[in-house]
Structure formats: C-alpha cells, structure tokens
C-alpha cells in the first residue's frame, strides 16, 4: 500500500540536497562574517576623550611620528604620549579650545587621560615595535593609512595569518629604515630612483643588477639588515 504521495519524492530529495548545501553555506558564511570589518572592527574608530586627528597632526602639520611616540625605536611599546607632550604645543595654540579641555585638565590636575584602545594584539603575542622599525618595517605596514585618518581606527586585523604573511616573506614590506616613518614612501619605479635611494642610504648593491621592484629591493635589504627570514616564523619569535 502507498504510505506516501507523489510529491514526497521531490520533497525528500530537495530536503536532503538542501541540507547538504545548508551545511556548506554555514561554514562559508561563518568564516566570511568573522573576516568582515563588521566583526573585526577594522575602519571603525572608537570614541575617544579627545577627537585626536592623525591626519591633521601628521599630514597637515607634518609632525614626525616619534615626536609623540618617542619610545617606539627603543622599546616594545610605541607609547601613548603624555598630556605634557600635547601641552608643549597646546599651551601655545588652541589654548582654550573646548575640545582640548580633557588634556589641559589632565595636565594641570595631574590626572591620567584614559583613551580607548584601537589596536588589540591577540593573546600571548609579544610584539616589539623597536625590533620592527629598526629593521625597515614601516608604521605603514601595520597602521597603513594612519596619515589619512581623522579619527584613528584599525587599518588591519592582527590575525596570526596576517602576521605570518609578512614574517614569511618580509621582502614585500621592508624598506630602508630611514624611510620607516615616512608614510608617503613609494618603492622606486625607475632604475635611477632606485639607484638614488640605495645611494642616499648607502646600501651596498651590485651595479649590474639594480633591483627593479619591491621584491628585489626587499631581498637586498633583508640581506643588508641581517634578517634571518627562516627564523621569523619560529613560534618562539612571538610567543613566550
């Protein structure tokens, strides 16, 4: 005797196939979401006590990174400038701008200023700024486009994979260490420019084979700076 109707056949098949598709979709969709800025908060500036603009200070006024983040070349931490640093200028200009009230208050009443963290390193990672900026890895590599940010936000999500990409082949990102704090640095295109660059920072090179692109320049610099590439993806480099 018939237990089922005709349409049940199609129904069943649709159900099974649909189920399989659903599982696949879940996996793909899930990973897509976690990689989306909505999840990683890349490009979303958190609110801050003072609407500090890197664009204004760096790009428009041309203040060097190290003026405020002065420990970046010697310490693991770039450091958040103390209110004192802000006041060196702002005791002269914008002396009564309401926006700067928190800074003045902090300075005068000796109260710390509490900012909201923008970049958050994943657990267990020991990152050292000095190790990078002294070996020709620019601020731009991790905080790219900071010079264009009115309100500061993440420009990268620091996943292990992302770090490894550069640790596995630093050539792609390395530049002469004198250019590290120059946000407008561009890899020379033409041979002359390249030559000029190498000579300016007297980096030894073989005149017969002048690097033609970032990769070749990178190779040259990696050698010049004694960077042991194969070591960079060791666990112990970042995890202790």
């Amino acid at each position: 005797m018939q237990v089922f109707r005709r349409h049940h056949n199609t129904l069943a098949r649709v159900f099974v196939v649909g189920g399989l598709l659903a599982i696949v979709g879940l996996a793909v969709g899930g990973s897509a979401i976690t990689r989306s800025p909505w999840w990683t908060k890349v490009g979303e500036p958190p609110d801050q006590p003072v609407p500090f603009s890197h664009k204004h200070h760096y790009e428009e006024l041309g203040i060097d990174c190290r003026y405020c983040h002065w420990s970046v070349t010697q310490s693991a931490h770039a450091g958040v400038p103390s209110s004192e640093v802000c006041m060196t200028c702002h005791s002269q200009i914008w002396t009564n701008s309401p926006l700067l009230e928190p800074v003045r208050d902090s300075y005068n009443n000796n109260k710390p200023l509490v900012w909201n963290k923008v970049n958050n390193l994943p657990e267990f990672v020991y990152f050292d700024h000095s190790a990078h900026v002294n070996k020709g890895i620019s601020c731009a590599s991790c905080h790219g486009g900071i010079e264009k940010m009115h309100l500061t936000h993440k420009s990268q999500y620091f996943s292990m994979q992302w770090c490894l990409d550069c640790h596995r082949n630093p050539e792609q990102h390395i530049r002469p260490k004198e250019e590290v704090f120059n946000m407008y640095y561009k890899t020379p295109r033409t041979e002359e420019e390249m030559k000029a660059l190498l000579e300016r920072y007297n980096i030894p090179y073989d005149p017969n084979s002048i690097p033609r692109n970032q990769l070749e320049l990178g190779k040259l610099l990696v050698k010049h700076y004694n960077i042991h590439k194969e070591q960079l993806s060791d666990c112990s480099i970042c995890h202790r």
Binding site: S71, V80, P81, V85, N110, W115, K117, C235, S236
Partner: protein, 1041 residues
C-alpha cells in the same frame, strides 16, 4: 651589570621624582585605601591593578596585562607627565638589600613600570657576588603578600596613627619622670646603623629604659666560643678559597649560616674539576642529619650533636692542638677512624685547612675549633676574625631571659616590640612569653603581620616592607648597603622601624632623610664628596669601606674548656629517650617566612618535603619506635600514599611536649631526632597558619639547640606528607626498608672519584658510559642541522646548557629563581601530594650506598631541549616544536592539553595546569607577575623555556645594534641565582663560549643519552674527593658495579 649601570645612574633620586608627583596627587591615598583592602577581588578583575599601575605612572597598562592569560579590550592610560629617564615597557634595576640569615644581602631589584618583578644578586655585594639563595628570591613575594598587616590596630580594632601617637605620648610622659625605667624595647638582631642610632637616641632620652634583642637563631655560641679562645666576642669569616681541607662539625655554613652564599661560591671555586685542572678541596662533615653542606661533603659522618665535642676533642688531640677539655662518652670505631683520617688530612694541609663549627654547638666546641685552627696556622689564612657586625652584639638567650624576668617582676610598663619580633611564638618555651606579654600595661607590636604576638598586645602597628622604604643593613662582614625603595608603599599606613623610632624620638621624618642624615652624621665621607659617595653607594648597593676591619687575634694556649655534660644515657628509668636537635628550617627559616608560598612549596633541599616540618630520624630509630610506612595503594584517592604515611609521635621532656609526624631520613644519626623550627604557626597568615608542627614548644632557654632525654611515643594516627621526590625511595619490599640509590639498577648520572678522573677523564668504564652512544642510526637523513654542525656566522645561535653537579650543593636557589622569573604558580600541599607540583626546575637527589651513611648526588633537572624531542613528535597540534636556535618551544596558547608530551618525556620535566593554578584572588599579587612571560591558564602544558624571554630581549637588542649576541649576554634565571655557578648557558655556535668549552670537557655527559633524544642540557660528571682511607673506595665501587 651593564643593564644595571645604564638603568640606574643615580637611580635614587630619580626614583623619588616619580614618586613625589604621586604624593601630591590628592586622591592617591584614598585610592590606595579602596584598592587594597584585604577582600578578594573577583578573578580577572584587573581594574584595581590598572588604577594601581596608573598611580605608578604606567603608560601602558597593557604591558602589564600582557602577562595575564588574556587581554581585555580595554583603555590605554596615558600619564599626565613624562618621566625623563624611563621608557614605557623597559625595566630597570635598582640596588637595594634584603635580610637573609639575619644579615644584609645586596640585591638588584628589577622594576617594571614601578613594580619590582624580580630580584637578582648584587655582584658588588660581598655576601652575594651576584648570586642569591632561595629565601632572598622569595622575599619579593612577601612584599606583595595580601596577608600583610595594613592598619594600626588597638586590641584588634582598626585605629589611626594619630590615636596611637596620643596614647603613646602619655605613656611616655609617665615614663619620662622615672627616666623610662618601665620602658623595654625588644627588637630582633639590629644590623641597621641608622636604626640603632635612633634607638640609642631614644635611650639617651630615657636613660633607665632598656633595649633587648632576641633572635631565635642567633650567634651566641659563636661569640662566646671566640671569647673563650681569644678573650673577646669575634665574628669568624672564612676564606674558603684558601682551604684545601675543610672539617665542618654540625655546621651548615653553605646554606643557613651568615655569608652562606658567598661561602658556597668560594667553596665551589675550590673544586671545579676540568681536564687539566684536578685541584679539588675535600670537605668533611659530621652532623646528625644531612644538611646542604652535608650532602656536598666528600666525607660525611652521621653523629649526634651532643657527641660533637667528643669528636672534635679527638681530632684536637690527634692534631696535637693544645686543648684540655673534659669530655665524656666514647667514640665508635667509625667515628674514631673518621676522626683519625680527618685529623691526618688537617695536619697534612697546615695553613690550608679549616675547622668549622656550627651555631648549635656550645662555646667550648667553637673554642676547640679555634684552638685547632690556630695550632694548624690557619688563622688569617682560611679564617679571619672581625668584630661582630651587629650594631650592638648581645647574647640573645640572655636578653630574652632578662626581659622575661623584668616582666614577671612587673618592672615593665611599656613594651615596644619593633621590626616584626614575635616572641609569643619563638621565645623559649620555658619562659611562657605568651603569658607574660599581657602583664605589661602598654604593649606595642610593630610588624608586617598580625601574628601570634600582635594578638596579645594593645597596639599593633603595620610595618612596611624593606623594599618600600629607605634603610641600611650590614652584611655578615659588616659591609653596609643602603636599602632604596623599589615600589611606592603598597599600604599607606605602614612604617618602617626606623621611621617609628624617629617618631618615638619626636622627630618623625621620611625614611630617606633619616638614613641620609645618619650617614652624613656618621661621616661616610667628607662634606664635599658626600653627595658623590652617597650616590655611588646607593647605586652600587654597597657603601665603601664599611666592612668591619679584620682583627689580628692571638690564641693563648693552652685552651682549657669544660664541655657541657649531656645526658647521654639513652635509657632513663627503663624508658628509652632520644636527643632532639633543633635547626632552622631550610626554607621558612625561624618561621618568619611561614606565609611565603614560594618557600613553603619549595621542596626542602634535603628532605624534598614541602609545606611541613617533620621529626626526622634514622631508619633504625624509626623502626625501633615501632613505626612503619605504608606502601599500599587503593583504587580510590584515599590511598595511603595520598593521605600520607608519616606516623604521628609525641615528644615530651619534663613538662614540654609536642605532637609531630616522624619521618625516616637516610644518613641520619641514630638515637636522635632533628626538628626544624618555624612551623606550627597559628597566626602566620592564610598560607602559613596551621602548617607543620611547632618545635619551639620543646625549645628552652637553657637548651636552645640540643635537648636530650626526650621521650618519643608513637600515636595511632598518621599524617599526610607532601613530598616531590620521595614516593619511591622508601619501599616496604626492601628488607632494610629503604631502597637507596636508584643509580644502582640504572646509572642515571656519571659519577667518579677524583683519582679515577685523574686516570681517565672520560670515566669510560663507569656504568653510565656503558651502552651509551651519542649517534644512533636513523631512517631519516639528518635534515635539521640546528646550524650547529655547519653555519659559520655566529649570528645564528644554538642554545645549550651545561650543569656541573660537582659544585651543586642542592640549595635550590635556582628553583625559586625560576619560579619568580617565569610566573610559576603555587599549587598547595594537597596538589603536591597528588604529584602536581608546577616547578619547572627540580633538583634530583640520589642516594648511593648504605642507608646509615649514603653518598648523595644532586642533579638540577630543567627541560633538556632535546634536538630529537620525544615530546614534540606526539603533540597532535604542534603546540611544542623546535625553533631554529634549537629551543624546544612550548606554545601555551596552541596547547590542547592531551598531556602526551609529558608522558613521552623521559625526563618528566613538563608540568600541566590541572586546574587554573595561576588564579590569584588578590589583585595585588598580579603586580608580581613578570610582564615578559605568559601566565598559563587552565589545561595547558608548560615547562622550562631556557628563559626564552631573556633570549628574545637579548636578540632584539643585538638585532637593533646589528651584532651577534655576546657570550654571557643571555643569563637564565637559574644560572643567575646559582651561588656556586654550577649552571652555564650559552651558544654552541660560538667556539669561545664557556658553554661550548664545558661541553667539550671529557667528562661531559647527558642523562639518558642512549635514547638519542640529543639533549641540549648536558652535565659534567659528579666528581667526589673522598679520602682513600675512608668511604673513598668501596662505597663507590659497591654501588657502581
């Protein structure tokens, strides 16, 4: 050193500058108040810490937080002002001093963002020479101890200093009339010149007042002995470098006595055997129970303390020293022989020999020793004498007796107990001090803990930790170190004894001013140069030319002494009685460190027991008492080995009695029992209270060290003991009850005698060498060369460690140093009993030979960083793999916790977080954590990393300066702490490196090398230098073959 110099140019004042601004900040006090009351903060609530760090002026709280298991997406706190000398995230070293064994000990405190996170020895300090002992390492934990007293208490109620002042003032006012006749000041041994000055000043104001000092562990016998021999109190200082033969009687001069760390170094320098360097001193030790010194001895003799006089007299006569002593008792044959050989050896090495006698021995014995040394012409060569370093040398037993007498005569109306003295706990039992204190109308206790004494007094005053204030201390040789604060006082209400005395003198001031002024007054240097000298002194941690000058002493022969008559008849009125020898505990000392979890958990060097003191005795005595140990097991946790198998006995001697768990120890003298002081505290704090048994109950003022005629009665109940190593050593199956020396059925380590070494430096025919191969055939091509076999440029490193057991004394300083450096959690007695101790570094202890008097071998065992690491192969998630420098890297955050790596580790050096051991309910403890090391969460494996954080630091610095890492630039925590420099770490790619040279020594070997795991940690053979006529030959060969 380099670090220190850069870090601390004139550190003193700069440090002040950053603290000044804090002091001005108004809400500071309030905040401290609200942030650090006792109640526990919920786990992971770092708010309090963050605010604290802010107060410390930390720019990146996250630097601190990065030490914690996870980082909350939190605020970044920027400081209002920029301190000029310090960068965020860079730590600096400040020289200061701690107290160990009652005297000053120079240390460098590593201060990170305003919080000290580690102590290292101060290379410039005579007592340290750059090394430390376990107790010094652990004092940092005391600083952050949440149980510290934080408030002024009146009868246990919180009060203010103002209230106390008022009360004090009228008390003093009444006394003023009679010149302070009713005032008594009780302190511990005062080695601080400025404090002493303040006290003297007080005594000038109140001429009738009296100042007493009492330390339960004191040098009375030493000074008295010197008086007998030389007519005045003198402090012997040994020059062990010049000693070829050392005879130590009942003396633990390598571990508990003042200057032990320095002595250990000098002693070790006398026995570093290398190919071509076969000079080696010889150490004879006679003692009732193994001590660190005894375990290191070449010739060890177990003998009752009470017989020591007899033994030494024997030696004296054999040596021909002009000594006439009345001694009783007869020596056994072995003792006789031992004495002869030792005497012979002494005579052979006139001027290069030394006889040392322990603090516990009566003055007469010390005097005899001096006589022998004098006779052998050792004075001025292997031992010199100075005036006692104390500010006011006294006989502590006398003092406490007098004070007790004064009180019971109602002569005392005001009793000031300063600097954490705790007579209610550690005063001689016969004085019943606990009952005396309440008799005094106005009693003040000033200490870091609300302890047994504080519970009895009217006023308790919280004492600040030495690392919180300024102060000065004298080392064992008198050298003065200025203590400078490493941190702003955690608890605003605390004051140092110095400040308190100043207050009593009506001139309260900051400790800084008090100390500096004192030294100005003391003419440290001419007015003009004072600042310079002072700065240098503070920076170096040592004030120049402050060591006590060596005195030329003359020994007037002959020496006529009357040694005390011990009641040696073991059987009294048909009851067998025993002799009890009191000794400072190897870790909690006299009880002052009872609340220090690091010291509590540190396996005691000799017994490997944690969290307890027991009644140690020889196996013979143990069985004589009808005691036995269960070796059974059960299918439930209440297996006897977990519940503990130490039987309880009661010890009683006229009036005094105590319960204690008995525990047999190999190499213990028969018919006597060793009790360690410092346990059984009732009000030590959360951790210390209720651990162990109080030995002070048996200790009387007339028999402070050796008590005879003690009755021992076994009790039915048993007591759980937490041991880290001994589960197997004592095994009921063995007839003698002890299975000694696991090396007899498996040659774990390579051992040899000096003579054997001279003949064959490789010790080829030793069992360990048999069947041992470095290279094994493998089905794989050698793909990983670790750069070591090729690779010319030394930019690449191959890290390795070589340990020299010959000089290792087993003092375990390395273990605690490792714990401090690597944020290793404390798990507590229960967990240790289950075999879950977390210490990354352990010191293995093997016995060899007969149970009565075995030979002891000590081997520190860190992770071996095997090149073919068995642990890595079996990890399913690649949480532990090799890096290019040959480190066996353990990545905690990748670990899933299958624990297979631990099973497959032949050395069992891996440790697993069965629970969340890193949990600290008190936020203040998080300040202790090393920001460079991950704090491990629950369920992950961990192990020794060769201090990878230090390697990284050095590497980054070197990379920045574009140069190779220098030899000795990376110093592991254990290496740095080791008093005898038994541990060497470095880069095998550098042929010049010390580690490479040691590794090339002929007697270099690796434990379990036959497994072809290729350990990077290797050892030098343990070389003994016994006298051929004594244990010299047979003990070894017996065990070896």
């Amino acid at each position: 050193m380099e670090e220190k110099r850069n870090g601390t140019q004139g550190a003193g004042e700069q440090f002040w500058r950053s603290l000044d601004e804090l002091e001005q900040s108004p809400e500071f006090e309030a905040l401290l108040q609200q942030e650090f009351p006792r109640q526990a903060a919920p786990l992971g609530n770092f708010v309090s810490r963050r605010q604290f760090l802010r107060l410390m002026g930390a720019s990146m709280a996250l630097a601190g937080l990065s030490a914690c298991g996870y980082k909350p997406q939190g605020p970044v706190i920027s400081r209002p002002k920029t301190p000029e000398d310090r960068l965020p995230g860079i730590s600096h070293y400040y020289a200061t001093a701690a107290l160990t064994n009652g005297y000053g000990f120079g240390v460098l405190g590593r201060v990170y963002e305003g919080r000290p996170v580690k102590l290292e020895g101060n290379p410039d300090h005579p007592a340290s020479l750059g090394a430390t002992d376990a107790i010094v390492q652990a004092q940092l934990l005391d600083l952050y101890d949440p149980d510290r007293s934080q408030n002024v208490l009146r009868f246990g109620r919180i009060e203010t200093w103002r209230a106390f002042d008022a009360d004090l003032q009228n008390a003093l006012a009444q006394q003023a009339a009679k010149g302070g006749a009713g005032i008594r000041i009780l302190t511990g041994r005062v080695v601080s010149p400025s404090l002493a000055a303040q006290i003297r000043k007080f005594l000038q104001t109140y001429p009738q007042a009296k100042w007493y000092q009492y330390e339960p562990i004191n040098r009375d016998n030493v000074y008295e002995g010197a008086r007998l021999a030389f007519g005045e109190w003198l402090n012997p200082i040994y020059r062990l470098r010049n000693a070829k033969v050392i005879v130590a009687l009942d003396s633990d001069f390598l571990y508990t006595e003042p200057g032990a760390v320095r002595y250990a170094r000098e002693f070790a320098d006398g026995r570093r055997v290398r190919a071509g360097q076969t000079e080696m001193n010889r150490l004879y030790v006679a003692e009732p129970m193994f001590t660190v010194t005894g375990m290191t001895a070449d010739e060890h003799l177990p003998i009752r303390s009470s017989k020591m006089a007899r033994l030494l007299y024997e030696i004296a006569t054999l040596v021909g020293a002009p000594v006439q002593a009345t001694v009783e008792g007869e020596l056994t044959e072995t003792e006789q022989k031992w004495a002869q050989v030792a005497a012979g050896d002494l005579v052979e090495h006139r001027g290069q020999s030394l006889v040392v006698v322990g603090e516990a021995q009566p003055p007469a014995v010390h005097a005899m020793a001096h006589a022998i040394n004098a006779h052998l012409g050792n004075l001025g060569k292997t031992v010199v004498f100075t005036a006692p370093p104390e500010e006011q040398p006294v006989l502590h037993q006398e003092q406490i007796r007098q004070l007790a007498a004064d009180i019971s005569n109602n002569a005392v109306e005001v009793l000031l107990m300063l600097g954490g003295v705790n007579p209610a706990y550690n005063a001689p039992a016969d004085l019943k001090f606990g009952e005396l204190i309440p008799k005094v109308p106005f009693t003040v206790h000033h200490g870091m803990y609300v302890d047994e004494t504080a519970a009895l007094v009217v006023w308790h005053l919280p004492e600040s930790h030495p690392f919180e204030t300024w102060g000065d201390v004298r080392a064992f040789d008198g050298t003065v170190s200025i203590q400078q604060p490493l941190i702003f006082p955690l608890y605003p209400n605390t004051r140092s004894a110095l400040e308190l005395m100043a207050q009593l003198n009506g001139a309260p001031a900051e400790s800084f001013k008090l100390v500096q002024e004192h030294w100005k007054a003391a003419k440290l240097a001419p007015e003009a140069q004072f600042d310079a000298v002072w700065r240098k002194g503070v920076h170096d941690g040592v004030l120049p030319r402050t060591a006590k000058p060596v005195k030329q002493v003359a020994f007037e022969a002959p020496l006529v002494v009357q040694t005390p008559i011990y009641d040696l008849a073991p059987v009294q009125a048909g009851v067998k009685t025993y002799e009890v020898r009191f000794a400072p505990d190897p870790t909690v000392y006299d009880g002052r460190f009872a609340n220090n979890a690091w010291l509590q958990e540190l396996p005691k060097p000799v017994t490997r027991v944690c969290w307890d003191n027991l009644a140690y005795m020889s196996l013979k005595t143990f069985e004589e008492l009808g005691l036995r140990r269960k070796g059974t097991w059960a299918f439930f946790e209440d297996a006897s080995y977990v519940k503990g198998d130490a039987p309880i006995i009661t010890l009683s001697v006229n009036g005094q009695a105590m319960r204690v768990a008995a525990y047999p120890i190999p190499g213990h003298a028969d018919d006597c029992i060793t009790l360690h002081l410092g346990y059984g505290r009732t009000r030590a704090g959360e951790k210390g209270s209720g651990t162990g048994f109080n030995a002070y109950l048996l200790r009387t003022s007339d028999a402070p060290w050796i008590r005879t005629g003690v009755e021992a009665v076994p009790q039915p109940e048993r007591y759980p003991v937490a041991r880290t190593e001994e589960h197997h050593l004592i095994d009921t199956r063995q007839k003698d009850g002890v299975k000694l020396d696991s090396t007899d059925h498996r040659p774990v380590i390579l051992t040899g005698l000096l003579d054997e070494f001279k003949k064959d430096p490789e010790l080829k025919d030793k069992p360990h060498r048999k069947g041992y191969k470095w290279e094994h055939p493998t089905m794989y091509p050698e793909r990983w060369q670790y750069d070591r076999y090729e690779n010319p440029d030394n930019y690449r490193n191959a890290w390795a460690m070589v340990i020299d057991p010959t000089v290792c004394t087993g003092c375990s300083a390395c273990v605690t140093a490792c714990q401090a450096e690597n944020n290793i959690p404390v798990v507590g007695k229960q967990e240790v009993m289950r075999g879950r101790e977390m210490l990354w570094l352990r010191v293995d202890r093997y016995f060899k030979g007969k149970a009565e008097n075995p030979r002891v071998y000590q081997v520190p065992v860190p992770c071996m960083h095997c090149e073919n690491a068995p642990c890595e192969l079996v990890c399913p998630v690649a949480a532990t793999v090799h890096d290019h420098e040959g480190l066996n890297a353990m990545v905690y955050n990748r670990c899933v916790g299958t624990r297979y790596c631990s099973n497959n580790c032949p050395y069992k050096v891996r440790r697993f977080n069965f629970y969340r051991y890193s949990y600290m309910k008190s936020p203040v403890l998080h300040l202790l954590q090393n920001p460079d090391v991950t704090v491990r969460g629950r369920g992950v494996m961990e192990k020794c990393t060769y201090c990878v954080q230090r390697i990284s630091k050095a590497r980054i610095l070197a990379k920045r300066e574009n140069r190779p890492i220098r030899d000795g630039e990376v110093v592991t925590a254990c290496q740095q702490a080791c008093p005898t420099q038994a541990i060497t770490f470095g880069n095998l790619n550098d042929p010049e490196a010390r580690v490479t040279q040691l590794r090339n020594q002929p007697h270099n070997f690796s434990i379990l090398g036959e497994l072809n795991a290729r350990p990077r940690t290797t050892y030098l053979a343990k070389i003994d230098n016994p006298h051929p006529e004594l244990s010299g030959t047979e003990a070894h060969h017996a065990a070896d073959h």
